[in-house]
């Protein structure tokens, strides 16, 4: 694991070969915005994940357990889940690349969203959400249809234009632990 280069990660405390998990600590204040309140209080498994740094084998991970210890937090992370996560990301990437290559030339939204690859991404359900939000952060704008289908939410946008819609959805994603 090459996690130590990430500023917010203070140290790797333990790697458990039995359940393929490892623990690391962070300063509480640096993680307040990243960890949903429900996880902090109930220690439930969540599918959101922190960026573990460019040298990490994973872009994000499932956190099994997060404990407050004074100003520190200890996170227990499943490596096995991470492998699954990487496979889902690869599937998403392949579908998204195919979809963009084959529909990028069209100007009508309906021609884009009926494409098989786009529909397959919707079929991935909430597993696709972290990667869709990554696309939004790259200013990719055609994901609103998929977001509404997967989350069954409509996000109110006060201004017109894709930039405002992207900002509103990213805010929603952050508040709900997906972005």
């Amino acid at each position: 694991m090459h996690l130590a280069d990430k500023e917010s990660i203070e140290s790797i405390l333990k790697f458990d070969q039995h359940d393929e998990s490892f623990e690391f600590s962070t300063r509480t204040r640096e993680w307040q915005g990243l960890i949903p309140a429900s996880l902090r209080t109930n220690h439930k498994t969540s599918t959101f994940g922190p960026d573990l740094g460019r040298n990490s084998p994973r872009q994000s991970c499932n956190i099994w357990k997060t404990s407050d210890i004074g100003e520190w937090m200890v996170h227990k992370v499943s490596v096995r889940d991470n492998v699954e996560h990487v496979e889902i990301e690869a599937e998403f990437r392949n579908l998204a690349d195919q979809w963009y290559r084959e529909t990028g030339v069209f100007s009508m939204t309906h021609k884009k969203v009926i494409h098989q690859a786009y529909q397959q991404i919707i079929g991935m359900g909430k597993d696709a959400l972290p990667f869709i939000f990554k696309e939004l952060r790259r200013n990719r704008s055609h994901w609103f249809w998929a977001l509404e289908s997967i989350t069954r939410q409509k996000v109110l946008v006060s201004e017109k234009g894709a930039r405002a819609a992207i900002a509103a959805w990213i805010k929603w994603g952050e508040e709900n632990g997906y972005a």
Partner: protein
């Protein structure tokens, strides 16, 4: 050397290479051809019936609906695509079912500028240079007087 589309993208428009064109800006999926032709691309506007649209215009993908959309911006149908002093022109492409597929705008020099979906903006010499399987046929010419003081981009 003028900047070109990738070979894969160029193949989508069989007449483009021989008729002369040049890539003028990088790909950007925040605005589309319809907003580029209207000059409304700056805040990330994607004009189609499922996104930005004009009040009172049917939310349809037909060529008729797009003619109505451009009429709200002061355009009216005209008979030819050639440059006319004092006017700016837009050309609408449609498929065999009468569905809108693409809009292109004439620059003051007489050449045309197009945003290719999510892909690049290009400058092309002829209005019909994008005809083919992808966008169908150039079907409708529209024009409006050049607004006073407008900088044509």
């Amino acid at each position: 050397m003028p900047k070109r589309l990738s070979a894969e993208r160029e193949q989508l428009f069989p007449r483009l290479h021989s008729s002369g064109y040049e890539v003028t800006s990088p790909e950007d999926d925040l605005y589309n051809c319809a907003s580029w032709a209207l000059g409304e691309q700056h805040s990330g506007e994607w004009w189609d019936p499922h996104n930005e649209w004009a009040e009172g215009v049917p939310r349809e993908t037909t060529l008729e609906a797009f003619v109505s959309l451009y009429q709200t911006a002061g355009y009216s149908q005209c008979d030819f695509f050639e440059l006319e002093s004092g006017f700016e022109k837009v050309g609408l492409y449609g498929d065999k079912n009468g569905e809108f597929t693409h809009a292109t705008r004439q620059k003051p020099s007489g050449v045309w500028t197009s945003k290719l979906g999510d892909f690049e903006d290009i400058m092309h010499v002829f209005a019909d240079a994008l005809e083919g399987e992808t966008y169908g046929v150039l079907k409708i010419a529209l024009k409006r007087p050049v607004p006073m003081g407008k900088k044509n981009t």
